[in-house]
Amino acid sequence: MHTCTKLKSEFIKKWMKGLQICCSSKTNMDFLERKKKIKLCADIALASAKNSTTSWCIALISEAKKHDENKTLVDNLLGPELRIKPQKTNHQMSASHKRARSKKILKKSHHVCQRMKKMGPPKSNIATYITKILVKERTQVLKRLVPGGESMDEISLIKEALDYILSLKVQVDVMRTLANATEVLNQSDSTIFD
């Protein structure tokens, strides 16, 4: 059981702040809008509370910034010191995209060369072949799940997934306690006034 209470309190503070900003802009929101706002604030708060340079954080924030309506929210939440990050992230992302692409080209050419060399049956061992396909498939899925995972190689993908899982756990924990607390408060309020 991990006790990252410091991260949790950071996360809550930023989340509440973001929600207050959301509320001040609009007065009446329907259910789905509210849910979206809550989730968005939670995600951004988590990513910024971590205060690290893992690429999933950066990817999440830059993804959120793409929509103009969220821009002010994100900027207010992040604070001045983290506003410099987006420029770096764009450069990082483009660089990593280029790296990934060039890597793919290189791998392909290498594979072609190797295949020319060995004329033997490439599928001599069915089991490993199947495993390879499965692994490839699943890394693709994982890349889609982890934010910003498209442009990562396997090693960094697993590392990012680790980090992401940890922070997701924190997020779920905090949200669950808040939901329970609000529920309890509402129930007790209703019993008082019965």
């Binding site: 259910f31 669950r176 007790s188």
Partner: protein
Amino acid sequence: MFTTHSRLDAVKPDPGMDTYWAGLDGGAFGDQLGYGYMNPNPDQRLLVQGNSSLVSVSVSPKKRKAADIKGQSLQVVSDKEKKIKGCSEGESRTTNQNSNNKEASTNTSSKEKSKISEVQKPDYIHVRAHRGQATDSHSLAERVRREKISERMKYLQDLVPGCNKITGKAGMLDEIINYVQSLQKQVEFLSMKLATVNPGLDFNVDNVFAKEIFQSSTSDFPALGCSSVNSVYYQLNSMDQVVSYCGLDMGINSAETGLRRSISAPISGPETFMDSSCFNQVQPTTNWDADLQNLYKMEFEQETLIPFQSHQFTGSNEGSNMKPES
């Protein structure tokens, strides 16, 4: 023999790195993972030792075009991003390996007549070949990569519940995917729940404060479960403590008013929530024994007051504090 070392001159040293690496062995990876992580250095190069000579494998993307595979010099470029972690892993591995390079010469193919690279560029990872293993630069690099992946898979096993029995890479990936998906769905569901429970997104400060009490309390007692019953219970405990700080008469008054409204209420919940306004001024302590006693006392008082009132008995201490109901 060769001394193995990894050159990290060009890389910015991370102050937290020592503790980070120390924590790796201790299995405290999960906590330290997100903090103090080093940035990837794209210009790292993988230096592979084999065949009693240095085979340099440059992984810089800039040098890629300049690579020419001649008969003598082997400058194979693999455009992999080797992180600092890999550096140290390679380092620790090589110091533990038994290297018998004399057999390596028989394993080399004709392509690998490698000469010692004269230019010692920084950030090389030194890897030594095991006896009987191919010293092809490709396979060595592959092996480094594979070992790194398996290392991280091990950490993931600790993190993802129920992964201890699965050994294969594909199965592990499957578990990881399922876990991430389930966590994301939980976030969705919880945000939906919060949207229904709170129409208006006004999470008031008292609620937040109470939540912080709860969280600080859970951090002190990690063994206690997170079920909603417990959460209510401990919230009540902490609120009782706070209420008692606000003054005895205030607490008694609240109990009195609580009684007026709901005589049959067994829990001392209602009156504590009414006094939530005094939270902001008071720092709660996590004195659980006192809290429990407090709670039990108030419950006892409530229970005893009911028969007292019914019998119109005013002799007891508790009864004297309470104004008798007419």
